[in-house]
Each structure stands twice: as C-alpha cells, then as structure tokens.
Amino acid sequence: MQPPRLHWMRGRVDEGDGKPRTLEWIGIDDAGRTIARVVRVRGPLASGWRLYRAVALDAQGRVVELRPTPPAGAGWLACVGGQVVGRAALPLQAVRTAEAALGGG
C-alpha cells in the first residue's frame, strides 16, 4: 500500500460533549508548509439567519462548502490550496484523494 506522501497532523478538534473529535487533518510537506487539508463535514450550523445542514470549516473558521444536506457517503472533504478536490466517507480515503490530486509531483 502507498504510504502517505505528506506529513499528516491532527488539526482542529471539537471538544463538545466530553469526547474530543478531530475535525480536520492537515497535510504538511517536508518544508513544513500546509499543502492539503481533510475536513470533516458537519452540520447543522446557524450562520446569520440561515441554517446550513452540511458544513466544513477551515482553520480560519471559513465555510469551505455548504450543501442543503450532507451527500451520502461524504463525511469528509479533501482540500488542496483552499479548493475542494473530492469527498470521501472516511478520513483516510479523503487523505488519499487529496494526495492523488497533488498528482505526480
């Protein structure tokens, strides 16, 4: 099996109701730069006057993507350089999706 190319680290964690849940994994290159991100889709989120069903927040608390309902089997978004490059049911799958999107380089 292909070992991950980036160094993946735990990002933000949700401490809600006592059980910490990792909300994102951050992919860092050898130089320590953040290259990719795998973000858990959450919801619902009240923002202003709207209630969003599915959300994924990035490190700055920005909404990465919104959907009326979370698409089936897509609990995680794979992001490279602020762009959503794919979605997956499980975090490790999303990591592979992100790395695949980085291509041969």
């Binding site: 099996m1 991950p4 160094h7 993946w8 680290m9 910490p20 994994w25 499980l90 975090p91 490790l92």
Partner: protein, 694 residues
C-alpha cells in the same frame, strides 16, 4: 465463583435465522475449547445445547441453552438461541442480558427474514456483534454476495476481517486481513489441524484492497491510530485490534468472519475474534436503570450500573424453567456479589426473595456455586415469585432495571383435557408453562368456558401441547388454530349513555358522555379525562376507565379484543344518593357497547411476512398460490437456481401451508414467516368471522 477477572469474561449469544448453523457452531466451540471430547451433530440428535427431547427429535433449537468454556485464558459464557420465529422470545431475552453476539448468516442465502428480525432485536438492546458467514462449503455459497446482503438488508457497514480461500468443496481456509496471512485447514474432519502460510499469489491483490478498506474504516474511530498510520504508513496488529474492538462496541462497523462450522474450518479464529473484539462486562456502558414512573424516556440519560463486584447487588431474571427439581430462575448479575442464603429485593414486584441455591448451568447440567458476582450468568433455586424481566436488587439500592419487550401472540387454540378429571392438572401445567414463556398467554373464553392458549405460531403451540403431555402427563385435545383477530374503529364518535335503575331501596344512577376515536396501529388503548367542573366526581373517573378497559376485551363486532382507540370522557351526570363507582362502571361498559358500533368498527387480522425459497421451475406455482391466499408479492430475487419470493399474506390463509407447498414443489421449496402488521379484513371475510361468532 468469579476467579476469572471481569475483563476476561465474555457473555455472548449466538443468533441467526433458522438452520444457519448456530447449534453446530456452538458444538464446535465446545469441542475446540476442550469442554467436550466428542462432537454431537444436530441431525443425530446428540448436541449439548439441543437437550430437550423435542429438540433432538426435530433437529431444531426451541429453548436457549447456556454453556461455558475457556479460550486463551478467558471464560466465554455462550447462549445458543433458536432461529425459528415461534421461539423468538428466547432470542429476545438472551440478547437482553448479553454483552455481545456472534451473528451467523448462511453463505448461500445471505441475510434471511429472521436474520433481519434478530438483528433489529440486537439493535434494540445495543448488543455489539461480529458476523460469521457460515456454510461456505455448500454449493452456491458466495462470501461476497452474503456481504452485499448484509449491507443492503441490514444497512450496516459490514467490514470483512477475512476472505475465503476457495469456495464450496474447494474451501480451504481464510485470509486473515489483520495479520495479513493465510490460515489453512489440513482436512475437514473434527479437530483438523491448521497452519499459517503466506497469502496465495492469486489472492494478494484482493487481500491488499480489502486490507486498505479495513484500515480506512477501523482507524477512523481512533485518532491516535490515524497518527500512527501517518507516521509509519501502517499500524501494528495491536493497534488495529484495538480500533476494531472500539468500532465493534459502538457499532460504527460490524466485523465479518467466515468459515464452515460443519466442516470444522474457521471456528478457532472466530473464538479469537470473540476475545479480541467483543466486550467484557467492563467494556460496556453498563445496564440502564428504568425511567421513573411519569418521567419521559428522553428526558435525561438513564443511570447506568457498572459491572462492579463491590457495588450493591443488581441482577435481572431473564428465564424461568420448571423441572422436576423445582423452579430455576436464570439471572444475569450486573453488580455486586451474592452468597447462598442471601436475601434480595424483587424491585419489580416489591417483595423479598431468599436465594436458596445457586448454579452454573451447562445446558441441562449444573454445578453448585456458593458465591456469584457481577458479570456472571447463573441460575437460582428457591425464588418464590420472580418472573421473566423482574429485577433483583440489594435493599440498600433498590433499582429497577429496564424491562424487556415481549412479542405479540398471533394464534389461538382451544385446549381441553382428554379426561375430565385432569382439568386441574392441565391448568397447573399450562400455568407453569406460561410462567416460563412470556410469549404464551392463557385465558378462559367468557362464553364457552374453554381454555384458550395464545402463542406465536403453530409450531410453538404444538410444542407446548407436547410438553404438557411429556412433562405434566396430561393428554389434551386441541381445537383448530384460530387467528388472533383484533377489532378497532375507523372514525370518531361521541356517545352519551345513562344508566338508571330503581331497585327497591337505593337506586343506581350514572351518565357518561364519551368520545371514541381511532388511534394509530399498535398504540393499544388510551383513556383521557376531559371533564370540567366536576360533572363526574373525581372518585368515579377510574371506574369509567375500568369499565371501558374491561369491556374492550370483547369487541362489538365479533368479540375480539379492541385495540388502537382512545376514549375521552367529556361530560356526565351524577346523583348524590344513587351514584356509585359501580354505576359509573356499568354506564361506561354500556357506552362502549353502544358507541363503538357507531364508530365504524372493523376487524383486524395479522398479516405475515412470508419468504418462500423455491427452485426456479416452481416459481409460477408458488406465486400463483400466494396470490390465491390473498398474498401481496413484495419481491422476487434469484440466487443461483433458486428463487426467493417475499410476500405479505394474511395469517388466516397460511394454516397448513407447509404441506401444500411441499406437494406443489415435490418437497423442494421451504418457507418461513413472521408477524408483520395488523390490517383490516375484507368485507366478505369479516362477515364470515361475525357469522361464526354470533
């Protein structure tokens, strides 16, 4: 007794559809753990857990049986349960008290109707499960199709931990995806040797792909394991096992193993998996305490009792057996320690019980114990009045544990003894049998004085009559099985009834105004008091409810119990001298009789979920016949050369189906059925039923 540390105990059940191989698997487990030195076979009537005469004669499991064995330094208490839906109460009560289960499905048929029913039961009690796909040696077996049926029919994340090596008569062993190696058996005889070897070349690619899925799924429940994976590109076996166990307990995914119990392949790794992935009594959140009367279920997280031998005693009685030595009460102990002669409180019924003797059961054999504690499943002798589902607790912490839900009996038969002088003997026998079996009800017909038995199906009642003969020496005649009809109403109606009687001295006077309204199916009976301003004095309200409730046992159309309606007492009148509780009760009964007639009453009949497995060339006959029986075909699926037809058919039309099906298909088809829902009967049949009851 508990010399075994709590973390080294597994209390598990084996559950599945009929004939999936539960008893055979249990028998192999007893052999491989060294409990028995020869293996019994279901078809020879020699297994340990099928010990009742009827079980041995028929080759089926009727009653659940508990056995104990040791594996790798752990103690495993196993309850083998029946698959036939008529004995579903046994699965129900066993799952209620177990910490985990092996869920067997058949390699050819995949998920079958009772697999689904039992799966939902296990869901209800949150029982962690591992799945064993059995009978891979059989022609037509397909591991991957069986896995697909798990996903489709049970809507779960089925996570293979093994892949088969070869299939049908070529089935040799399994690829172990956790250890990434092959486990191969050298024969199919009992005790066949097995060894590890490298994964066969042809399966390497497939094994890699499945291992990746295993990692993706299992590691997602544990962030530390994810980090280990990111660091090394893989994780150690211990880490992976820890993640699989965590996900198994929460139900995030369901591990799948495979083999053939009958041909002795796959049983040892299954035992390893029980130890590695199913929880010990301390790995589960603890049994929930029942919500207080009046407290909404969802209001607060229920209090949970942790497995702790030092805590005050708490246990649940889940099974009663009357045999020649007296009454055995099976108890799952959740907390505390108890010694012979101790007294406990039956908190469900509110009285004290002294525990005479205590036993570790091994099917029908027993070993006496002087002390029992948290985590144990044992049998007590000497309890006077403790029924299935009752809580036993220490007086200093009189908790009541969550109750069990019992299935609805759908078939009635009348019974009478062959000789008049054995009436009492029969009644006592039936009462004892009913005390053992909460899915069996006993009543006396108001009009005919006959004894009526209600049960889950023809087989269930047949076994009961047979036990009455063998265990209580009573030969009984039975009437033809009758459908347990119900009645209900389809529109609301308000009725006012005045009960007035002048008998010499004081008279009787009561007037009630009641609205009868239909409720949703399966809601039973509700009573509401909407009286304002004391038109009916408070002390008479319970009499009104009692009157309606008791009258509802005898429906207005054909005398069947009336269900799914609400009675609201709106108004009434009373008289200072002549009114009494009795007068209000009489008025309420009459009001029910008059009012329900005008609320568009209907008769309801049980509709069964029927699944027929038939060879391709008889599908036409089977479907045509089901249509004639007022069946609604739900779907038709083929698996190889056999076809599975699923239909909803009224129970009334299913009596004697087995013999018709046999002659129609020359004995090559089989079927199963279980209760699905109640539906109104068509007009012509209602008329027939009413004519008969008139």
């Amino acid at each position: 007794m508990t010399t075994t540390a709590l973390e080294k105990i597994r209390n598990i059940g084996i559950t599945a559809h009929i004939d999936a191989g539960k008893t055979t698997t249990t028998e192999r487990i007893l052999y491989y753990t060294g409990v028995s030195h020869k293996v019994g076979e279901v078809h020879d009537g020699t297994t340990t857990t099928d010990y009742m005469e009827q079980e041995r004669e028929r080759g089926i499991t009727i009653t659940s049986a508990a056995v104990t064995c040791e594996w790798a330094g752990n103690r495993i208490n196993i309850i083998d349960t029946p698959g036939h839906i008529d004995f579903n109460i046994e699965v129900n009560r066993s799952l209620r008290v177990l910490d985990g289960a092996i869920f067997i499905i058949e390699g050819v048929a995949g998920v079958q109707p009772q697999s689904e029913t039992n799966w939902r039961l296990a869901d209800r009690y949150n029982v962690p499960r591992i799945i064993f796909i059995n009978k891979l040696d059989r022609t037509g077996a397909d591991f991957f199709r069986a896995c697909d049926s798990l996903k489709e029919k049970l809507d779960i994340v089925a996570l293979p931990l093994q892949l088969p090596i070869g299939i049908e008569d070529q089935f040799r062993g399994v690829v172990d995806l956790v250890g990434m190696k092959a486990i191969v058996w050298e024969g199919s005889e009992l005790g066949a040797k097995f060894h590890d070897e490298p994964i066969p070349e042809a399966l390497v690619e497939q094994a890699r792909a499945y291992r990746q899925t295993l990692l993706d799924t299992a590691l997602s429940v544990d962030d530390a394991a994810m980090e280990e994976y990111f660091e090394h590109g893989d994780v150690g076996v211990e880490t992976l096992k820890r993640c699989i166990k965590a996900g198994t307990i929460t139900g995030a995914f369901r591990p799948v193993l495979c083999g053939t119990a009958f041909k002795n392949k796959g049983v040892q790794p299954l035992l390893d998996a029980v130890i590695d992935y199913l929880p010990s009594p301390v790995d589960v959140p603890g049994i929930a305490v029942a919500a207080e009367e009046g407290q909404e279920e969802s209001e607060a997280e229920p209090r949970r009792i942790k497995a702790d031998p030092q805590a005050p005693f708490a246990g649940l009685a889940f099974k009663i057996i009357n045999d020649k030595y007296g009454t055995l009460t099976f108890v799952r102990i959740y907390a505390g320690t108890l010694r012979t002669g101790d007294t406990v409180l039956n908190t469900t019924k509110g009285h004290r019980e002294r525990v005479g003797r205590m036993f570790q059961m091994h099917a029908d054999k027993r070993a006496e114990l002087k002390e029992v504690s948290a985590g144990d499943i044992v049998a007590f002798v000497g309890l006077k009045d403790t029924g299935t589902g009752d809580t036993l607790a220490a007086p200093q912490d009189p908790v009541v544990l969550e109750r069990m839900a019992f299935p609805v009996p759908v078939i009635d038969i009348s019974v009478e003894p062959r000789t008049k002088d054995s009436v009492d003997k029969m009644t006592i026998g039936l009462q004892k049998l009913a005390a053992e079996d909460p899915s069996l009800r006993l009543k006396t017909d108001q009009e005919t004085g006959q004894t009526i038995l209600s049960g889950m199906g023809e087989l269930h009642l047949e076994i009961i009559i047979d036990r009455l003969r063998r265990e209580y020496g009573v030969e009984a005649n039975i009437g033809a099985p009758q459908v347990a009809y119900r009645e209900t109403i389809t529109r609301a109606h308000t009725e006012t009834y005045t009960h007035k009687k002048q008998t010499g001295g004081s008279g009787q006077y009561a007037e009630v105004k009641v609205t009868f309204a239909p409720l949703e199916r399966n809601t039973g009976f509700e009573f509401e008091n909407s009286v304002v301003g004391g038109a009916v004095p408070r002390e008479y309200i319970p009499a009104v409810e009692k009157g309606i409730r008791s009258q509802s046992d005898t429906g207005v159309l054909a005398g069947f119990p009336t269900v799914d309606f609400k009675a609201s007492l709106l108004d009434g009148k009373y008289h200072d001298v002549d009114s009494s509780a009795l007068a209000f009760e009489i008025a309420a009964k009459a009001c029910f009789r008059e009012g329900m007639k005008k609320a568009a009453p209907v008769i309801l009949e049980p509709i069964m979920d029927v699944e027929v497995t038939t060879p391709q060339d008889h599908v036409g006959d089977v479907v045509g016949d089901l249509n004639r029986r007022r069946g609604m075909i739900q779907n038709q699926e083929s698996a190889g050369s056999t076809v599975i037809v699923r239909a909803h058919v009224p129970l009334k039309e299913m009596f004697g189906y087995i013999s018709d099906l046999r002659s129609m298909t020359k004995g090559r088809a089989s079927f199963t059925m279980q209760f699905h829902h109640y539906d109104p009967v068509p007009r012509n049949i209602a008329d027939e039923i009413m004519a008969k009851s008139a």
